[in-house]
């Protein structure tokens, strides 16, 4: 490969200026001419039949333009199971479900009118525990579940509340346990948490009766998928719908799918062509948008005396909340690698996505990996302890290496796991016992390993335009959600067209003009869209070379490109700028456009009975994180002294961006480890829907962090790159959990590791030791 000029360098972000000056326009900043303001009435019942809705008073309120309920918008949507009405129809299934909406001349009027809507409910049994919700006798939260339209890979469970049952079957676990010297069986729990992107959700919609076109302005991280979902729900042709993306203020999985969009769309059909904005405040975002799956994980592992893993059986109940959203695929892609990145001959996994009467769970940075790792990686340490083995040694004996066949039947390549394990543990001086200095404070070290697949198969397409000034415009449907994709993709275009970064700009995202992209999710963009932009750039370069060939009286193979110029390889002074070539060939306003697309084709589809696939993922991300903690025995408070995070990224296209993703991921992971949880009572009500009561990590809680980039090149990836957005938080809680267990000699099975949980664990052990 020729030497890289921009790729691999920590160039500053291209979206910097507007973000530090306040000029950047985000979803909720957008003011459209003649815009109306929407507010929503949310269900106050977790599970109830709607006996009556009365909207007369709201409709009569001065300044109100439209009031809509489920009766006005008889549509349902859902990515893989079409189960969610735009507004509640006949019944409500969680507190926070949109029931009705008002559009008015200003937000205060809309809010006042919402309060005038009367709803009479008839209570139904409420299920807040996923295990309880699928016991026999539990009533169906979705009576019509069998009739819902579903994508073809959905396998409903035995109980009506099981939206998806994922099965992995390899070898014979019973035999494996029989052949084991030690078998350990434990139950772990991960609570529901929230993304807490700093920008709350909002959407604008406008319906033009003349053209029959529906336009939606929304910071959605998968506009093409959202467009498809709206089109399918409304029975509208896709070309009648247009999504325009303003900037997105964070997402972490919360802003894909449809959240506020259906409410804005429902209102837009009743405002006589006027655009309407629906903006959620923080509390509404907490209860009505999206959460991360709570998970109950049963893990049973059998090993030989020498540490060789023999069998692992896992049963995972994923609390889906009231609607399926992305639960089926979280269940599949979270359950599949839950047994960990290890060679295990006998594996059995049952993952159940279970409806409950709680806020909807869906995609969340990590997509099911943190929950499996919390159980699996702690159990690995527990096994090591009982076998009197070093925790690194037992991992090294079993971890995936180049060429291994995984327990789902896929041969693995570009496996950088071992390097991440070695580097992360070395960084916290694993071999040295933690110092025990302060009285009443115990120190410990721990680490955890993960492997994460990406959504497959998917497609990304891109366009690259070169004008007569030699300016490059990249058309890509990847959404800049803060992760830095605009910088990465600009680097790729600059690299292939050999122009300075300052010559490249990204086109704003508008589905009318931007080529298709599957989604900005699953850490897939650098790999998929990186490949697409690279191909589009090469296509543009080839056209320019072709055009330059007669101008420079040379064959294209004798030409080269550097620093915005095309020149003869052996006579570099014989040169034309890219812009000059475009101008001479296509005139003063001419443009050259290159196109490219990339699709990762999977081999065999996932077998629904065994969970096997020879290509389950376009690539796999590997990581190890290690932590050193101190635990105050009197208060149960944990302080993280230092952490290391080693991530196999394939190739760091922008090391600054990689480090930024790791740092942000680890700190988010620390929050989920130490204090984050949505507290939901037996009636299904969220008790802490604000940043006052739901604690995010602050600048005071950040430990010393050593970020380590491991580059184990992925041959199909652009310049060898894989992905990095999600894994940053995936092993963090398990690493901290292992460090806490090392410090205290006590295993804590439930997240978060908040002081009272740790305190009671210490007290219980004291009692047990005394008895």
């Amino acid at each position: 490969m020729a030497e890289l000029t921009v790729v691999g360098k920590p160039v500053t972000r291209v979206d910097a200026n507007e973000k530090v000056t306040g000029e950047a326009i985000y979803g909720y900043d957008l003011v459209l001419p003649n815009m109306l303001y929407g507010k929503t009435l949310f269900s106050t019942k977790a599970h109830a039949r709607i006996k009556r809705i009365s909207t007369e008073k709201a409709k009569a309120f001065p300044g109100v333009v439209a009031v809509v309920t489920g009766a006005d918008v008889p549509w349902t949507h859902g990515e893989s199971i079409k189960d969610k009405p735009f507004l509640a129809q006949g019944k409500v299934r969680f507190i926070g479900e949109p029931v009705a909406a008002v559009a008015a001349e200003d937000e205060d009027i809309a809010q006042a009118a919402v309060k005038l809507i009367e709803v009479e409910y008839e209570d139904l049994p409420v299920y807040v525990d996923p295990e309880e919700a699928c016991k026999s006798g539990a009533v169906a939260i979705h009576e019509d579940f069998p009739k819902y339209r579903k994508v073809d890979f959905i396998v409903p469970g035995a109980h009506a509340n099981i939206a998806e049952h994922f099965k992995l079957r390899t070898g014979d676990v019973a035999q494996g346990f029989k052949e084991s010297d030690l078998v350990l069986e434990e139950k772990y729990f991960v609570p529901m948490i929230q993304h807490a992107a700093m920008e709350p959700h909002s959407a604008h919609a406008q319906f033009d009766k003349e053209t029959g076109r529906l336009t939606i302005w929304v910071a959605n991280d998968a506009p093409f998928r959202a467009l498809h979902e709206i089109a399918e729900a409304l029975g509208m042709p896709k070309e009648k719908i247009r999504f325009i993306n303003p900037l997105q203020g964070g997402g972490f999985g919360s802003k894909g799918g449809l959240k506020v969009e259906p409410i804005a769309v429902a209102l837009a059909f009743h405002t006589n062509g006027r655009p309407v904005r629906v903006k959620f405040n923080r509390e509404e975002t907490f209860i009505s948008t999206l959460t991360r799956h709570e998970a109950v994980v049963y893990s049973k592992t059998g090993v030989k005396k020498d540490g060789t893993l023999m069998a692992r059986e896992m049963t995972i109940y994923w609390g889906a909340g009231a609607y399926a959203e992305k639960s089926p695929t979280v269940c599949i892609r979270g359950s599949l690698p839950a047994p960990g990145p290890y060679r295990i001959p006998h594996v059995k996994v049952d993952g159940y996505a279970v409806y409950t009467n709680k806020p909807v769970a869906g995609s969340y940075r990590g997509y099911g990996i943190p929950q499996g790792a919390w159980a699996g990686e702690q159990q690995m340490d527990e096994i090591a302890k009982r076998l009197d083995m070093d925790a690194v040694e037992i991992r090294l004996k079993n971890i995936f290496v180049e060429g291994d066949i995984s327990y789902w039947g896929e041969q693995l390549h570009a496996v950088g796991l071992k390097e991440t394990l070695t580097k992360a543990t070395e960084a916290i001086e694993w071999g040295n016992k933690p110092h025990q200095i302060k009285p009443g404070v115990k120190n410990g070290k721990g680490f955890a390993c993960i492997q994460k697949p990406t959504r497959s198969p998917t497609t990304s397409a891109a366009g690259v335009m070169v004008n007569t000034k030699g300016d490059i415009t990249v058309l890509a449907g990847t959404v800049e959600i803060g992760q830095g994709c605009n910088t990465i993709l600009s680097q790729v275009a600059a690299e292939e067209l050999k122009v300075p970064m300052a010559k490249v700009q990204m086109h704003p995202l508008d589905t009318d003009v931007i080529p298709y992209d599957a989604s900005t999710t699953s850490s897939r963009s650098t790999y998929h869209m990186g490949n697409a932009v690279r191909r589009a750039s090469i296509h543009a370069r080839e056209q320019i070379m072709e055009a330059a060939s007669p101008m420079l009286e040379a064959k294209t193979q004798d030409l080269d490109c550097v620093d915005g110029k095309v020149f003869l390889k052996d006579q570099p002074q014989m040169a034309l700028t890219l812009g000059e070539v475009v101008r001479r060939k296509f005139g003063p306003e001419g443009v050259v456009r290159g196109d490219g697309s990339y699709t990762y084709e999977i081999g065999k589809d996932l077998d629904l009975e065994t969970g096997h696939s020879d290509h389950a993922s376009a690539f796999y991300m590997y990581a190890t994180q290690a932590a050193e903690v101190e635990v105050d025995e009197d208060s149960g408070r944990i302080r993280i002294l230092r952490m290391s995070a080693a991530h196999d990224v394939g190739k760091a296209i922008n090391p600054l961006n990689c480090v930024a993703q790791i740092e942000g991921g680890v700190v988010m992971g620390i929050g989920s480890a130490l204090h984050e949880e949505m507290v939901i009572d037996q009636t299904g009500k969220v008790r802490n829907p604000s940043f006052l009561d739901y604690h995010l990590v602050t600048s005071l809680d950040t430990p010393e962090l050593i970020s380590i980039i491991v580059e184990c090149a992925e041959p199909e990836g652009p310049y060898g790159a894989k992905g990095l957005g999600e894994p940053g938080l995936a092993p963090t809680p398990a690493a901290i959990g292992n460090a806490v267990a090392d410090a205290l000699g006590i295993r804590i099975y439930d997240l978060p590791l908040k002081p009272e949980n740790v305190y009671w664990a210490i007290q219980n052990k004291k009692k047990k030791d005394a008895a």
Partner: protein, 183 residues
């Protein structure tokens, strides 16, 4: 009941008519169109709406606009002068102190109010001061690096955004060990 109020924002006087219950955040964003000040939590916890009033950083979501009459209000839009970024804005770019950017105006305004009063705070003082501004993307490291870069005068005197190739400065780059493995 509407009330006439004169607000001085970034040195410019605005005579406006507002309801007495209007919050400064609403007036800045909706009345004056200064959307650089962001809303994150609406209850004064997250710091996204931080502005400086008479030298003190406040949450504009908890401040009545009418109570700001006669006071000097500074927002993110007023920081750059004659197209030249404020040193903090420049540092946030050079040191990668932002990702999605929603909390960034608040972070910068909070940092400015600290440095205006105490140009040489210690790293711990900065960490503590900035704890009132939440960020979900960065994990805070790069924000703190950016602020400390201004404190320690480690920003590029010839900085010109995107006029030439800019390489980000990562103070602690030597700890980001890169271990390449080729197959």
């Amino acid at each position: 009941m509407k009330k006439k109020v004169t607000l001085t924002v970034n040195g410019e006087e605005h005579e406006i008519e507002i309801e007495a219950n209007r919050l400064l955040l609403q007036v800045l964003r909706d009345t004056l169109g200064l959307t650089g000040t962001k809303e994150g939590c609406s209850i004064g916890v997250c710091g996204a709406c931080s502005v400086i009033i008479d030298g003190r950083v406040v949450s504009s979501c908890l401040t009545l606009a009418a109570a700001c009459a006669g006071k000097k209000i500074e927002t993110i839009e007023g920081l750059a002068e004659d197209g030249r970024l404020h040193p903090l804005q420049q540092a946030f770019i050079e040191y990668g102190g932002f990702q999605c950017g929603i909390c960034t105006p608040g972070q910068i305004m909070a940092a400015k109010s600290l440095l205006d009063e105490n140009p040489k705070p210690t790293e711990d003082e900065v960490k503590e001061w900035m704890s009132g501004n939440l960020c979900r993307c960065t994990g805070y490291y790069k924000i703190l690096e950016a602020v400390m870069a201004v404190v320690n005068n480690k920003i590029d005197p010839d900085f010109a955004f995107r006029k030439r190739e800019q390489t980000a400065k990562i103070q602690s780059l030597d700890v980001y060990k890169s271990v390449a493995k080729t197959n």
